[in-house]
Structures are given as structure tokens and as C-alpha cells.
Amino acid sequence: MADTDMATDFTGDHGPKPKKSISGRNIMLYGTLIVFAIYYLLPLYVMVVTSLKGMPEIRLGNIFAPPVEITFQPWVKAWSEACTGLNCDGLSRGFFNSVKILIPSVAISIVIASINGYALANWRFKGADVFFTILIFGAFIPYQVMIYPIVIILREMGLYGSIWGLVMVHTIFGMPILTLLFRNYFTSLPQELFKAARVDGAGFWGVFFKIMVPMSLPIFVVAMILQVTGIWNDFLFGVIYTKPASYPMTVQLNNIVNSVQGVKEYNVNMAATILTGLVPLVIYFVSGKLFVRGIAAGAVKG
């Protein structure tokens, strides 16, 4: 996009006069952008700065000042010593719980949703669209309406309070958006490929594994980004469907920071907050445009 813009600039078929870099309009434009950029960057900056200060410095100084004496003690404490209730092994427990929840949830939800999307795109059977419509509508139903009956279902299955119960819940609630994503992608692939594979005698699974999956790796990456950030950031399901020992990181973070006992250690709290935000942040900055595509996929209705 940027390249084409540059090219048209050079040919000069629009933009009446050569650009002056400092004009009133440009000052307004960049000024506004920079003001907004400060608003968006401020919390990240404050988090980092606070987490590197000692408590005495925080009490005396101001939150925007860079640390005079840099200390990593708050990070160590947040990771391995901070207390929630009786447990004092820090956020590390929550981190590993989140990883244990994340991996199967992402894998299972993507496998199921990609097959659903494939069936809807290429093997539409009678009534399939009805279920799909319900599924898409379901994405808008407030979770609160469904959470309690799901508790009962999980309890009957013996999964309530376990990580696998939560995996199932994530699979269920990730299904509408992921199915939509895959269905739209598979529909956009040339039908000739599908027909050719069928003529060659490939069946439902044959076409899926030999043609569809290899051709759709980008969309699998998009789905992964979507699910990893979504599941990592989840709080509601974590707090409802797991026990304190297997609470995901977000729930544990909230318990550490908002615990009413003891003296508040703001530097430890901020270190813990960054630690929890780190996984999605890394994914965001590494994945770049694919992340935008993932979130836009949710918005573009097929």
C-alpha cells in the first residue's frame, strides 16, 4: 500500500504542489496524531517505569518520572513470590496454568472449526445453514445467559473445575468466529481444485488434508493469533470453570493486584501486569498485519 502511494506521489498526478514538510496542515495532522499516540503509549510507559522502581521511590516521586535506581526485584517478586491467598509462588503458577489451558484449547478449537468451515463451504448438507446461522447468532448472545447451564453440563461430565472443562468452553465459544473465518476462506478458494480432487477420487477427508489444509496455512495462522490472544486474555471463563489451583494468569493477576491484605506494592503489581500482557503483546508485534486481518475477520460478515 505504501509503495503504491509513493509511486503516485512521484508521478505527481495529484497533489497540486510539491509538498512542504512544515505547513499549518501538517502541524495539525501530526500534532493530533502525536497527542493520541501519547494517550495510547502512556499506560505502557507507566507500567514499565513503575515496575523498575523501588517502593520508596514510588512513594516520593511521580509516576511519569523514569526510575532513578533501576531494580528488577519487583519482576522477580511478581513472578515467583507474590501471594494470592495462601499461595505465595507468584504469577508463575498462573502462567503455566494458562499455557496448559492455551495449547489444547487453541489446537482443538481450530481443528474443529476448520472442519466445520470446510463442511459448510464444500459439503453443504440440508440444514447446515440453519445450524450455521444459529452459531453466528450465538456469538452475540451474552455469555451470562449460558454460563450456568454449562456449569451443570460440565459437572455431569465430571469436567467442572478441571482444565479440560475450560478447554471445552473455549472451543465452544471460539467456534462461531473461527467457523466463519474458515468457511469464508474455503469458499474463496477456486472450486475447480475441489472438483479436480473429487474426480481423482478423494473423499471428504482426502480433499481436506491434501488440498484444503496445505492451501490455507495463512488462515490457520490468523485463527491461531485470534485464539491465542483471546484465550490468554480470558477472565470470565477462567474464574467460573476452574479451581483456584488451576486459575489462568489473568485471574491470578487480578487476585494478586486487587488483594486487600497487606501493603500494596505497586511496582510488583505493575511488573505482574506487564508479565501477563507480554504474551499477547509479543504476538501482536510479531504478527503485524496478520493480527489486523484476524480481528477484521470478525467484523467482515460473509
Binding site: 448438507f125 477472565f235 501482536y284
Partner: protein, 298 residues
């Protein structure tokens, strides 16, 4: 042959049907089944355990007599309206600015969008810290010499919801910016040229030509924001936990607290049913417009 043909109709496409079982089960058991279950039990006097002891509309009467619920509704309305207006405005302005062929576009875009990758818990906790009256913005401004400066929304019964709003906008407006930018990029270069030749001022071009052309993007953004608003829960839990007192309570938190903390299932069911109704009131006209419009086109 006859006996062979009949089952073949049912078993045709068998693999696809088997593969769709998870989807069918989710749609029927969870989305339809669980919703109907909750609505049904909202008419019962269930407390600790769900029981089919009918009490008619009593739960709803009690719900709207509860101060906390009324405050929750007020809060979500204020939060919702402000958040809609601000997200759409900020999102559009940022997208329009980024679309002006500027330098460092990618950097700015990354900065505006990164909060969206963070959870509401992280968002709430950071802003709780920045808005902390003892150490945060208020303290810094007072230290700079403005001793009477007061900015402590999270400690004020009246303004707490606006403190939450600052955080909510910070987290979510980048998404709207991204959607709007995609919409702006889809607008034909010729339209810009035409308005330039006609000498229409830039601001007028946006309002009269561009925004009407971006109607579908606005509608999508609207639906996204609206469905997010009804769900506001984590942000409140992290930033204020409903406080001070009950001034920043929201419906989703009421439901959770009634179901899982105060063993008053009936109230939780009734409250969540009201939430569902609210969503349907938004969703049905939208779906009607969306699909009705499509039929006309096709």
C-alpha cells in the same frame, strides 16, 4: 434397490454430517438449549440450586426493585452511549489522519492498535494505577503547583464510570480505527479526484461523500462496539470492582455475583435474560436490515 436408495439419502454426505456434529451440538445444546434453560429458570424461585418452583415474574419485579441493578443499568447506558460516540469519532478521526499519506503510518497504526491485544484485566489495572489519586495524574499535577487540582474519577460515586470509560476507549478504539482505515482504503481514488476538481473542501468531502459511502463499516463497528458493551465485566472487576460502594456496578457483574457468590440463582437468571433481551433489541433490527438489504440487491 428400493431399500438401498432410501437410507442412501440420509447417509449421503455422511462424513460431512459426522464432522459437523460439534457444530450442531454447540448450536443446539449450548446456544439454543442453555439459553432456553436459563430463560425458563428465570421464572423460578431457584436459590442455591436450580429448582422448578414457579414464581412467575417475581424475580423480574425484585430485579428492578434492586438499587444495585438499577445503577448497573444506568452505568451501562452511560458507558454505552459515551463509548459508542467516542470510539466511532476517535476511530474515524485517527483512520482519516492515517489515510492522509503520512510518514510513519505503520508506527502510528501499531501504537493505536496495540492496547487491543491486551486483556481487560491488564487495561483495568494499569488505569487504576494511573488514576490513583495518591500517586497518579492528580498527584503529579498537584506537585507541579496546581494544588487545588482534583482528578480522581475512580474514587467518585458520580464520575467513576467515566474513569472506566477512559480505560475502555484506550483498549478498544484502535480496533475501530483499523476497521475504518480498511474502509477508507476501499474508497476509489477517483472519488477523491472528483471532489478535488469540484473544489469541495476536505472536511465537507468527509461528511457528505466519504462517511455515507462507509455506511457498512460504521454499521459493523456499531454492532461490534454494542455487543462488547453489554459484556463489560472484566474491566470493572479489575479497575474498580464495582466501587466505590456500588457506583460502578454493571449487569454482567450482577449476574456473576448473584449466581456464584450470593447463591441467588433466580436473580442471576432473570438478570441475564434481561441482558439477552437488550442484545436482541439491537441485533434483530440489524440482522433484518443486513439480510433484508441483501435480498433486494440479489
Amino acid at each position: 434397490m428400493d431399500t438401498y436408495k432410501r437410507p442412501s439419502q440420509l447417509f449421503r454426505n455422511m462424513s460431512a454430517k459426522i464432522a459437523s456434529i460439534p457444530m450442531v451440538m454447540t448450536a443446539l445444546v449450548i446456544f439454543v438449549g442453555c439459553t432456553v434453560w436459563t430463560i425458563t429458570y428465570s421464572f423460578t424461585g431457584s436459590r442455591l440450586l436450580p429448582k422448578l418452583k414457579w414464581v412467575g415474574m417475581k424475580q423480574y419485579d425484585r430485579l428492578f426493585d434492586t438499587n444495585r441493578w438499577v445503577i448497573s443499568i444506568d452505568n451501562i447506558i452511560i458507558y454505552g452511549i459515551c463509548s459508542l460516540i467516542l470510539s466511532l469519532t476517535i476511530g474515524f478521526i485517527l483512520a482519516a489522519l492515517l489515510d492522509r499519506k503520512i510518514r510513519f503510518e505503520n508506527t502510528f497504526r501499531s501504537i493505536f492498535l496495540y492496547p487491543f491485544a491486551l486483556s481487560f484485566i491488564v487495561t483495568g489495572l494499569v488505569w487504576q494505577w494511573i488514576l490513583n489519586p495518591q500517586f497518579g495524574i492528580q498527584h503529579v499535577v498537584r506537585e507541579a503547583g496546581f494544588l487545588s487540582f482534583s482528578f480522581a474519577p475512580l474514587q467518585s460515586n458520580e464520575y467513576v464510570i467515566f474513569g472506566v470509560l477512559i480505560a475502555g476507549i484506550w483498549q478498544g478504539s484502535g480496533l475501530i480505527m483499523a476497521l475504518m482505515l480498511a474502509g477508507l482504503r476501499g474508497i476509489d481514488e477517483d472519488i477523491w479526484k472528483a471532489t478535488r476538481i469540484d473544489g469541495i473542501p476536505l472536511w465537507k468531502t468527509y461528511i457528505v461523500v466519504i462517511i455515507p459511502m462507509m455506511r457498512p463499516v460504521f454499521v459493523t463497528a456499531l454492532v461490534l462496539i454494542a455487543s462488547g458493551i453489554v459484556r463489560v465485566y472484566d474491566l470493572i472487576v479489575a479497575q474498580t470492582n464495582g466501587g466505590p460502594g456500588i457506583s460502578s456496578e454493571v449487569p454482567a457483574k450482577y449476574v456473576y455475583d448473584k449466581m456464584f457468590l450470593s447463591q441467588n440463582l433466580g436473580q442471576g437468571f432473570a438478570a441475564s435474560t434481561v441482558m439477552l433481551l437488550t442484545v436482541l433489541v439491537i441485533l434483530i433490527p440489524w440482522a433484518y436490515l443486513e439480510f433484508g438489504g441483501r435480498k433486494q440487491n440479489g
